[in-house]
Each structure stands twice: as C-alpha cells, then as structure tokens.
Amino acid sequence: MLFNSYIFLLGFAPVALIGFFLLGRLNARFAAGWLAAMSIVFYGWWNPRYVPILLLSIAINFLFGRLIDACRADQAVRRKLLLVVAVTIDLTALAYFKYADFLIVNLDALTGLDLALAHVVLPLGISFYTFTQLAYLVDTYRNKATEKDVLHYILFVTYFPHLIAGPIIHHKDVMPQFAKPATYRFDRDRFAIGMVFLILGLFKKCFLADGVAAYAGPVFDAAEHGQALTAWQAWGGALAYTFQLYFDFSGYSDMAVGLSLMLNVKLPFNFDSPYKATSISDFWKRWHISLSTFLRDYVYIPLGGNRSGEGRRLRNLMLTMLIGGLWHGAGWTFVIWGGLHGLYLVINHRWSALRGRIGGPAGRIEVVAGSLLTFFAVVIAWVFFRATSFQGATTMLSGMAGLNAGGSSTASVFAGTRDALIQTWTWCVALFTVTTLLPNSQQFVARWVSDRPSIGVEVRDTGAATWVRPGAGLALALGGLAALALMNLSRPSEFLYFNF
C-alpha cells in the first residue's frame, strides 16, 4: 500500500489509528497486536505472497535473538557463533532475493558459463527489514537490546510507518516507547504535529518529486538509448533527478515520522537538508541518516573504523561505501556510485587533515565553495545511481561535460514537448532555492512546537509535545499544500526507495 494513495489515507490509516487508540483504552497488548496485524495487512496489500517470507525472517531472527540473549556470561563463543549464524542466514536470504541474478550474470561473464538466471522477484522492503533485524541482533549481542515478547518483536519489525522504506530503526529507540501506557492514549497535540509532517511529506512527494520527475525520466531514457545530449539537457535531467530523489525519499520519511507521531511513537529523522552540506562527510550526516548511521555502527566500526591508522581508515571508508552502494541495488552502477562516494570521503578526509595543518577558521568563500563542490560531486554520483547501465551513465556524463555540441533536439528527448527544457530549468532553479535556502520539515515544524517532534539518532524522549500557538495563516497554508498534494494523488506513483 502506498502512503500517497486514497486507500491508505482515507481507509487504512484511519482504521489503523482508530483501532489502535480504541483498543489501547482496553488493553495495551490488544492495541500492539492490532498495530502489528494492520502492519502485516499494509505489507501484504501489494502481494500477499511475500508475507510468509517476512514472517519467516521475523521468526528466525527472534529465535536467534532469544538464544543470544539467553547465553550466560561465560558462553562468549557460543554467543558469537549464534550471532554469526544468524547474520549469515539474513545475508544469504538477502543475497538470494536481491543479488542472485547479478551474481549469475557476472559469473557467466567471468567464466563463460551459461547459467540460467534465477529470475527471483525481490520481496518489498527486504533490504530495510533485514538491516533492521541485523541491527537488533548485533545490539542484542552487545547487550544493548533485548526482546522477550514475540508480539512486540513482530511490531518492531513490521511497524507500518517504517516497514517498506525506513527509516531503519533500532529496538532500543522505538520499543521502549511501546512499553509506556501513555503511547496508547490519543494525544491531540502529537496528532496535529504528525498531521503537519504528513502533509509536508505528501506535498514533497506528490507535488515536488512527481512534478520534477517528468523532466528527469525522459533525459535518462534518451541517454540509455544512446541519444547524444546537450549540456543543458543532460544537466537539466541530472539536476531534476537530484531533486526528485530528495523530495521523494525525504517526503516518504516525513510521512513516516508524521504517521508514527500520530500513533505517539517517535521515529528518527532521516534527512537534514543534505543539499546544504558543506562537505561530503557533512552530506552523509544529513542524507538517509538512519542508513549512514547503520553503516557507521555495523560496518565501518566493526571493520576497524579509524583505530588502525590512516591507511586502514581510508580503506574501511571505501569498503563501507561500496557495501552501501551494493545495498541499494544489484548492479555495477550502484557499486560505482558507492565507490565514488567512498573516493569523495577519502579525498574529504585528506583535505580535512591538510586544512587542519593550515589552521584558521573557514571563511565564507571557502564554505560556499565547499557547498557547491559537494553538490556538484553528489549530482555526478547520482547519474550512476539513476542510470540503468554504465553506457547510459557515460552518455549522460559526456553530455554534462559538453562533449556533444549539437546534441539531440529537445523535442526528440521530451517526446515533442519543445518548452520542456525551460520547464526543467525552472523546476531545478526553484527546487535548488528550496533545498538550499529554506528550512527543512523538522526546522519548519519546530517553530510551532516546544518539543522535538521526533527522536534524533540518539533518543531523547522529552515527553509530550505541545503547541506554541500556530496561527490561522499556517493552517491555511498547510491546507493549500494538502490540496496541491491531494490533487496529484489520483495518479499515485511508487516511492523510489521501495526498489532498494
């Protein structure tokens, strides 16, 4: 089920919320069970065939979590062995569903064998729920999490606001909230704040992301077909995709945070104005924060982090980003995207070391230059992220480099729409302004709320959120945004991150 669909907004969500709070008045356990059941319905709406895979994954991970937790202090080897087995099972399942054909194709290319493709269909959200559970297992192993209640564990994994496309949550952050009786009581202030996030997310997805998508797709498609592109066309397409991806995914994340807040449960913010980043390392503190935190805590640090010298640190950075790239999809373009970001981070760290030796605070020009360079590097990498083939990516890049002076006519790229290029650039300039100059969703909402409406990467539960007298003007403006979003809801499109 899509958040941006009438069936979800007018059917599923009201039923889930009303049922949760009504049952919560009777018994918290009933309410948690209701939410878990509704979350499974939400997941199975696309294709019920994947529900057993999800439930099997939950069962295996819960079992291993219990076994790890049950180990005595003197059973360190057994504990570690259980963790390794569980992680291996998870990664094998992920590899089978996500990477089987990719491995076969590459094996065929390397060995000359002609193995038949497995044609495995990717279960929705498998990357997200696998990573969520991997983090749980590792946290259990590190004595940072424990869950004895199977119902709560099911709810932790399937909780519908985050199930399909994150944010990747941690047991220790979210489940203690379900242990509080106050969570099961309707809180009108939190509901209102959640609604604001939901509207902002819907607007970002339905109006901004879907609006600019019409200008990204044709350019990348033309590049895939080998059509030479002018610099204006190629840059227009690359920038359009840059903004489409941001508003699509951050819109989804806002909706997830908002829906969860309506249920009195805080989720972590996943974005913090990434296109305002002044360096690539700053970018990764602002983009898909729950994934970058996961990669830091569960890949980079276990690889050794920065503990074994500069050379090992840079190697670990590169490896972490390559794994991050592969996590997004089974294709070499994703590996190149991850590799590029790894390279960027390596350069960034070397530059930081050099800059540290020079000393002195960064001036305004240096900060602006850093921001522009970061944005440029990110856009170049997105070309590989979006392209479906290496050929398509290089065609785009050669266009962006101005190597196709004549290029193709705009009418041929945009199927007859001659003024599409002007529209593309109008969108891009407007969205560049929005992403670099305006506050992001949480900064926007924070003006009217005395409490953090969502948890950060580290949980800081500061109690019930309260209003700071938002005016009628804000309500009217939000109503306008909601109308613009709902107007575009009649043709719902999938969220880009559902594919990862």
Partner: protein
Amino acid sequence: MSAPRFLLLIALATLVALTGLSLLPQDRYQRFAEAATESKHYLRIKWIYERIHFDETPIDVAFIGTSHTQSAVDSRIVEAALRARGQDVHVVNFAVPHLGRDLHWLLVRELLTSRRVRELVVEVQDFEPRAPHPAFQRLGSVGDLVESPLIVNTGFFDNLARLPRRQLDLFMPAMAGRSAFVFSPRGYEGPHWDDTERLHGFDQQRTGTHPAAYLDEQAELLRTALHDKERLAGRLRLPSGCSVLKHYNRIYLDSLLNLARERGVHVTFLYLPFFRGPEQPLEAALYEPYGPIVKPQGVLDDVTSWLNVDHLNVSGARRTSQWLGDNLAVAAPGRPLPAIAAPCS
C-alpha cells in the same frame, strides 16, 4: 490555536481549495480534445465532438459502441448501402473503445442536444458492464461526476479525486491564452472516421486472420468467464441485467434510452459477441422493449472475418457494414416509438 481547531482549519482550507479548483471553468471541446491526447485509443474522441458541433453534414444514423463497433462498422459502406436501398441518410460511427454506459449516455446527450437524429444503433455485448468507462472522468462535466450514482459506482471517488487536477490542467493553458485546441477545418478528419482498415495512431493493417482452432481456444476462455457470470447472476436470483452490481450502468443505459425516446429517436441494438459467442445477448430482455436486436450472423460465423477472438478484421468489417446497410431498418421521420415496459423497473 488549539490542535483540534488547527486541524479543522487545515481540513477546511484543503476542502475549499479542492472545491475551488474543481469549479474552474473550461469548455467541452477542450475536454474532448485533451482526452484525445491522453491515449491513442481515444484519438477519435476529439473528432466526435467536431463531427457533432463543427460539421453541418446531417447525422441520421449514429452508431454508439465499443471497440467492437469501432472495428466492425465502416460508416461509408453502411451509408452507401442504405442509399442503394433508396434511403438518403448520413451514417456516423461514434464508437469508443471499452464498454461503459456512462460514456455512451454522455455521447448521446452531446449528440441529441445538438443534432436531429433518426436512428441510434447501440452496441450490446453478452453482459452489461459493472464498472464506469475510463473516459467518463475525462469527458464528464463537474455536475456529471458529482451527480453520478453512488451505488456500486466503483469510479465515483476516483472520478471526483481527479477533478481538481483535470480542471486546473484545462484551465491553465486557456488562462495563458495558449489553448492548443481551437477547431481548424484543416485538421478535421471529415464526416467519416474509419478505423476498420487501420486504427488511427497505429501502424498495423487490420487484415490478419487466425485458424479456427486458435479462435475456439480463446473463445472457450470467454465462454467460461461468461458461464461464471451467469452462475453469479443466478445466485443473486435476479435477471442478470437487473443486478444491483450493474445498477450504475443500468441507470445510464436507461437514461440514454429515455433521452432517445424524448427526442423521438428510434433505437436498434447491434449485438457483436466474440467468435462463436452466444446466439443472443444474455440480457436480451433488457433491450427488446426498446428496439430490435440485430446481428450479422453469417459474417460472425465465418472464421476469416476475425482479427482476434472479439474483433473483426477489415474483411469482416466490410461485410458487416454491407450487411447493416442491407438490413438496417432506419426509422422514417415521425414514425411512432414502440411502447415499453422496462423489465427491471
């Protein structure tokens, strides 16, 4: 402001904005022309409006139907055959792919409120449909969509949901003074739009045939589906055409037929089933009070007439058109309408 008031104000503002957008003005020609740009299958929709409103050639016999009629009736052949029989009439094929009586009613209303027609030839299939026609939401006015029956109308909310965006899309270019849809005689197809040889917008000639065994195999699937529908209708213990599940389309079919009667227009039903389909429509009782049901049996029995299991090829279309011209009884002006007793009312 308290949270409930704040939420209420958001809801009100949203509602007002969406209602305001829905009420933006635009003209009908623009709606028809815009719909034609959305799908190659709807190319003829713009022409339909132009034929009714911008072409003064009379319209004596009008075919209303689906892709079955679109691919089976060449109006020029029907017209020539009728003239050979001494009937000086003008024939037009207004069929649009997909079966939905809401669209048929809308087209008939457009036609009969502007033109004097003698005979409507309305296509019937084995069963009346349940769902709305996808083009209804594109062509219907705000009033048409809002006043649409609610019971078992699977498209009601979807149609309303699309309305603000549709109205805005039609309004903006008109406001900017660059509406692409101004009638031009140079771009007009003429009094006949023929899709029997080749569908407009598609390259393929409609000349193919299939072996009888293949068509039979395909037809068997349709027969099974039909049988299932019959069983379901039996379980509901209603004549299938009166089933509440078809309430939506029945209302539009009744409105269409009543409108025709109000205007003194005779109706003939053209039955075009699939290859070796039923002898007569399973809901024949619905139509018989309003007019005769005709079927070019000989053409339909011939395996060489079929492009696929439910559409005729160009050869089948030519013979069907000729058969219609030879057999259609076009009502003389002023001939009284048959008395009716609607079977489900």
